[in-house]
């Protein structure tokens, strides 16, 4: 038994016949072959699978692909545009905010959404924003620093561009 789902993923319209039970994380990874989105826990505790739906970060292991029919999905693959890294990606590199890299896509999507909403977050606000995401490698300190780097970078860029 399959149903057709159509949605916008990273700006492109996609349409596929899938089982209703297919989780969004599998639709993205298996059907669309966008493997940047990971899964780590089954129970929506780890945040490795975070993508954005209509701009909001959500855990794609706990949403059906069918529920996204007609919506806009953005994955980590959307961050780099025409060879230009998103400042949040640059920040993670600059501040050594990743080690094994497995949580990184979810962290990037979560913190990008944070900055879109709150361009100048405090350290505590950053920690709250990523509190649904587990990183086993970094102890979070450098992730906080990376988000601050991106915030400052964006502010500096905005100032220069007046």
């Amino acid at each position: 038994m399959t149903i057709n789902v159509s949605m916008t993923v990273n700006g492109a319209q996609v349409s596929h016949d899938i089982e209703p039970r297919m989780l969004l994380v599998h639709f993205v990874r298996e059907t669309l072959e966008l493997t940047g989105t990971h899964w780590g826990c089954d129970t929506s505790n780890c945040g490795a699978c975070v993508v954005r739906i209509d701009g909001q970060p959500v855990k794609s292991c706990t949403i059906l692909a069918a529920m996204c029919d007609g919506h806009e999905v953005a994955t980590v693959e959307s961050l780099e545009v025409e060879g230009q890294l998103d400042p949040i990606q640059m920040g993670f590199h600059e501040r050594h905010a990743l080690q094994c890299g497995f949580c990184t896509p979810g962290m990037l999507m979560t913190t990008r959404a944070l900055l879109d909403e709150n361009p100048d977050p405090t350290d505590h606000e950053i920690r709250v924003a990523i509190s649904g995401a587990i990183c086993r490698c970094t102890g979070y300190k450098n992730i906080v620093s990376a988000v601050r780097w991106a915030a400052e970078h964006e502010a500096a860029t905005a100032n220069r561009e007046g």
Binding site: R21, V25, W39, N45, K59, T62, M67, S131
Partner: protein, 291 residues
């Protein structure tokens, strides 16, 4: 990865359409809203519905507004909107207290108030919040709507007054003057379910507590509504001693079970401590004295 068993899926375009679908599909159909309680159960194969009726398109159920002396919250209102609503925070600040400690920000983007209440997990925060705030809920079926108090809503563990072909559509919070409220929770780690949590609301009247609402999460098979403590408080001037007495009642009247979060005596202790803390803060808010 864990995956759910197969089911059929349809998307409701109206509340009545959803109700009609539930009637048509029978007892093996479930409503899915945010899905953050249901889908994990389905992945564990603890829930195996044959049909899912997705009500996420029912944006008409997503609102927080003041109407007829009540704050009315649509069932599809998501946690994030409850957290951010200044209207809600102004009249019922315990919602914001609770929403900062319910799951995590990303989960809060999906989970809904209706889903939380209908899951009726005794450890869930909003059921206690609504009980303390003296909320009622609106349940709609093909025969029309009925309004049920929180006491009537909670039928038993994981069981509510919402029938198989009914949908919870609204939560109503009566606004009364000089009120204050607070929610206190102890958890093992950020984002975890409560070891214990207490919601309290007070409505002041001439320097005394005119009415009070107290409810507890995670210390019984269902949300514990501590009516004895509410009675104690009515008509009395707020004081730490009074709150301690109310806390003692909360400790006595809850019925926690021992589990990985803690033993019974600790949970009883927390019920008392958190009730006191919530009352203290609720009263300070009612009196505009919050530090």
């Amino acid at each position: 990865m864990q995956t759910p068993a197969a089911f059929e899926y349809e998307r409701a375009t109206s509340v009545d359409g959803a109700i009609a679908s539930l009637e048509r599909l029978g007892s093996e159909a479930r409503v899915i809203a945010g899905g953050h309680s249901l889908l994990p159960m389905m992945k564990l194969r603890l829930a195996n519905p044959e049909h899912l009726v997705d009500i996420n398109d029912l944006t008409e159920l997503s609102y927080i507004r003041e109407q007829e002396g009540e704050i009315r919250i649509g069932a599809m209102t998501r946690h994030v909107d409850l957290l951010r609503s200044d209207l809600l925070a102004q009249h019922f600040p315990l919602f914001r207290d609770a929403e900062t400690v319910i799951a995590d920000p990303v989960v809060r983007n999906r989970g809904t108030i209706g889903g939380s209440l209908c899951q009726a997990d005794a450890a869930e925060d909003l059921s206690a919040v609504c009980a303390a705030a003296k909320a009622s809920v609106v349940i709609r079926g093909s025969g029309g709507e009925r309004v049920v108090s929180m006491d009537g809503f909670h039928v038993g563990p994981f069981t509510t007054a919402v029938g198989a072909a009914e949908i919870l559509i609204e939560v109503r919070l009566p606004v009364r003057p000089d009120g204050g409220s607070a929610h206190e929770k102890v958890e093992r780690r950020a984002g975890d379910w409560a070891i214990a949590a207490a919601s309290a609301a007070v409505w002041m009247q001439d320097g005394t507590i005119g009415d009070a609402g107290i409810a507890l999460s995670a210390v019984g098979l269902t949300t514990i509504h501590v009516t004895r403590a509410e009675e104690l408080l009515r008509g009395k001037a707020p004081s730490d001693e009074l709150f301690a007495e109310a806390g003692a009642i909360a400790s006595e009247d809850c019925s926690p079970a021992s589990d990985g979060r803690g033993p019974i005596d600790y949970k009883r202790h927390l019920a008392g401590v958190l009730t006191q803390r919530a009352l203290r803060r609720a009263t300070a808010r009612a009196l505009h004295q919050e530090a």
